[in-house]
Symmetry: C2
Subunit: 167 residues, 2 copies
């Protein structure tokens, strides 16, 4: 399966395509969608919508996974964050790509076995699993993490279903 | 000009097409997008995105106007409300229809001259301006109100620009 991971951000949104054949993970491609110089929120939403649509057209993921957005103290920036995450989700959904959301704690737990792991520990685990030997920017490594979390979750459900069938 | 007014709602979204030739307003069409029986948020976002896209294809508005969403006490419902409003905005933007946002107080002021007018006063004013002699559901009358607010705002700016040119 080929999964598009998205790390939402109102200024920088990380994305990563990760594949798995059931034995480990493979990094296909990753990058950031940088909208920090686009000042009107509506222009930013449209830009993100089209960029995510373009990534989906290029790479044809089977599904997308996105980190759940939580409200920050600043209401205005929380607003824009939810809107930009929605733009990415709708781009995927409108291309027929189902979207799953994962809470930050679930992603950390899936990667490190520990829900309160720090960003550095998550990045180290992401790099080990994908065999990447250079540092990653946080937006990209977080996008890889949510894709891996989704792959784990799907594979776990599949094993449960197989187990149920075999008994 | 022909304006699509949108009253965001996570379960019921009101919409209205209002025209103006500079002398008063004309109600073209209006209705609601009812997604309350769609339980998965992602399904709801896609439904709203496509419904708003369909309205735009049918009526070809010059611009859209939407009431700004404010956070409620309940974080989860505020979340869904911002997401569904974003779905409507992105549908318009992706069809090349610019979107303006208006705060509730501005809309009330544009309609009744008073920023703290209640929903009943706004509805009465909407019905008078559009020559509608029957009661409207609140979602629809709020969508008409934001469209009228946008028309007023554009016409006011145009008059200012003409005034500046003639001096």
């Amino acid at each position: 399966m080929r999964i598009l991971g998205i790390d939402p951000g109102s200024r920088i949104m990380g994305w990563a395509l990760i594949e798995s054949d059931g034995n480990g993970y493979r990094h296909v491609s990753s990058g950031i969608i940088d909208s920090k110089d686009i000042h009107a929120v509506s222009d930013r939403l449209l830009f993100i919508y089209r960029e995510v649509g373009g990534i989906i057209d290029s790479y044809g993921p089977d599904a997308a996974a996105i980190e759940t957005v939580f409200f920050s103290r600043n209401q205005r920036s929380a607003f824009v964050l939810v809107q930009t995450a929605a733009a990415a989700m709708i781009a995927a959904l409108n291309s027929g790509v189902p979207v799953s959301e994962y809470q930050p704690m679930m992603i950390k737990k899936a990667l490190s076995g520990y829900g309160r792991a720090d960003k550095e520990q998550v990045q180290l685990m992401v790099r080990r699993l994908l065999n990447i030997d250079h540092r990653l920017i946080a937006d990209t490594s977080d996008a890889m993490a949510v894709a891996i979390c989704h792959i784990n979750s799907v594979q776990f459900k599949n094993r449960l279903a197989e187990h149920a069938l075999s008994h």
